[in-house]
Subunit: 314 residues, 2 copies
């Protein structure tokens, strides 16, 4: 006699492929715990065996019967839904969060441009004296025009900016507040990614920092795929355009992709970039593998090794 199970239940077939006994699953939960039901039948019937190839064919023929079709369809649909539901994991949150930060930056850029242009009507001297957008927004929200001009040593009457009424200033302040909210959102988002990485990839976080680590995972598609990549691929991840240009035209191959923003590379001499990128990608590759297989935390050691090797040489 043969034991056979599928999404509908557990079945015992006799040598003529008639159903001798069966336990039908009431819901997917029972299907997920099917071992329990299989054990039950194994205990009840003696001499049960796994069907061989010809037996399988006969058994599957039995299920081709129309009466099962609707049932199969329903159960498989439920199963597929459950799989979709369960496929959402930390990798998705990291990818969405990284892209969200990119979106926040885009929005900030659009709004800051407008803010600067508008504020120029009011106080062009101050706007031009300050490069950092974040600081600019902060300062104009915290200080009055004459205070800001005083910092530059300009008398308010000497400004070529117009005097705006409170009502005409309001929209300018509204933009500034909105931008400040976006900056705050960006910060809390970085904290969130950081906490996600503490859970799923502490080693990558230690080696690459939050932004670069999460960008690598987003770009690779998942932690799993990143862990399967050779370090040479990780090295140029994000520089696909340059890579294909190299392959098509024989231009120089890219030395680094996303990891170019890593402080070890960004803060070192141009000449050393390729060498550091290679070593860094190597360590990231190790970190990703350790993270994927839930190994112990070695990220700090990996990073220290890199820093000792390169920081003193610059």
């Amino acid at each position: 006699m043969y034991l056979f199970s599928n999404v509908l239940g557990v079945f015992v077939f006799d040598e003529k492929f008639k159903v001798e006994d069966e336990i039908l699953f009431k819901d997917l939960e029972e299907y997920n715990n099917k071992e329990k039901f299989i054990d039950k039948l194994l205990n009840k019937h003696k001499n049960l065996k796994e069907p061989d190839e010809t037996a399988i064919k006969n058994i599957l023929n039995y299920f081709k019967n129309k009466e099962f079709l609707g049932n199969f369809y329903d159960k498989n649909l439920q199963l597929a839904k459950l799989n979709v539901k369960n496929s959402v994991n930390n990798d998705n949150f990291i990818a969405q969060s990284v892209n969200f930060i990119g979106d926040i930056d885009k929005s900030i850029n659009i709004l800051v441009k407008r803010l600067r242009e508008w504020y120029d009507l009011y106080n062009p001297e101050y706007s031009r004296s300050i490069q950092s957008h974040e600081l600019f927004v902060q300062e104009i929200l915290a200080n009055e025009k004459h205070e800001l001009l005083k910092k530059l040593g300009i008398d308010e009457n000497g400004s070529i900016g117009a005097n705006l009424s409170e009502k005409d200033l309001q929209p300018i302040k509204n933009i500034a507040h909105q931008i400040q909210d976006l900056y705050n959102l960006r910060k809390s988002q970085l904290d969130y990614i950081s906490s996600l990485m503490d859970k799923s990839c502490p080693n990558i976080k230690a080696v690459c920092d939050v932004m670069i680590g999460s960008k690598l995972i987003e770009h690779a598609g998942s932690l799993k795929r990143l862990s399967e990549m050779p370090s040479s691929t990780i090295q140029i991840l994000g520089a696909e355009k340059a890579l294909f240009r190299h392959m098509k035209t024989g231009a120089k191959p890219p030395r680094h992709g996303i990891i170019v923003g890593h402080p070890l590379i960004a803060q070192s001499a141009e000449m050393m970039h390729g060498k550091i990128a290679r070593a860094l990608a190597d360590k990231i590759s190790i970190a990703a593998k350790v993270d994927f297989f839930h190994g112990q935390f070695i990220g700090d050691k990996l990073r220290k090794a890199l820093e000792e090797k390169f920081i003193n040489k610059n």
Copy 2:
């Protein structure tokens, strides 16, 4: 004897072009009230006359002296600054505000795309059931997942969306809040433009509504320039690309630019668009002229004439 005034002061020259008397301005305010000082000298000296062409030449020669140069430079600079300062007016605020609304829309689009994608991991059924972004944001902030699914007649367990922890839901809610703030900002910005138009161009506002009227002013550069445009130009303002394509390739000329969004055009049959656009541009042209010269309010009559002519014919 000649009376002459410039940015430095008021001067009386004798027939040999020597300074007989003078009053120097202490600041730009005195320059702006120069009539007072001119009257003073006119009362003091008899037989003062306006210098003729040759006299002017001699007088200007006198001021070529180096001792005046620094003084001229300072005073002219101050004057230029004051002019820049005073050149900021309602038109600038309207233009900035219209562009700001465009920027808000861009930011909303970027962030809504991210929100929808992220929220899809959690509750894809609801996200796909609702088209309007604004309503979508409102609803997901006001309701729990199971409430939203109930509206669609779906049981929470039947959803293929993942169950997210409060912590993983937070960033999604943050985006939604940010978008809601932007929608609110957009509304208050429209109110602000509306109040600006009440002051400087009530007739345009009555004929075109806030968005189209303000876009026309922004596109023309100022209310003054809009009031100087022939109605045929107003009709295709904003369709420059199509106009040049028409001139270069002989393609059909554009029938309307910015005004295509006007309810009279948008809600009427395609066939009538050109005709309505022409009549509408005509009324806008009148409204702009009346507004620029601060005439009385006739906007409601202009609009009513248009509506009577076209709304019943559709």
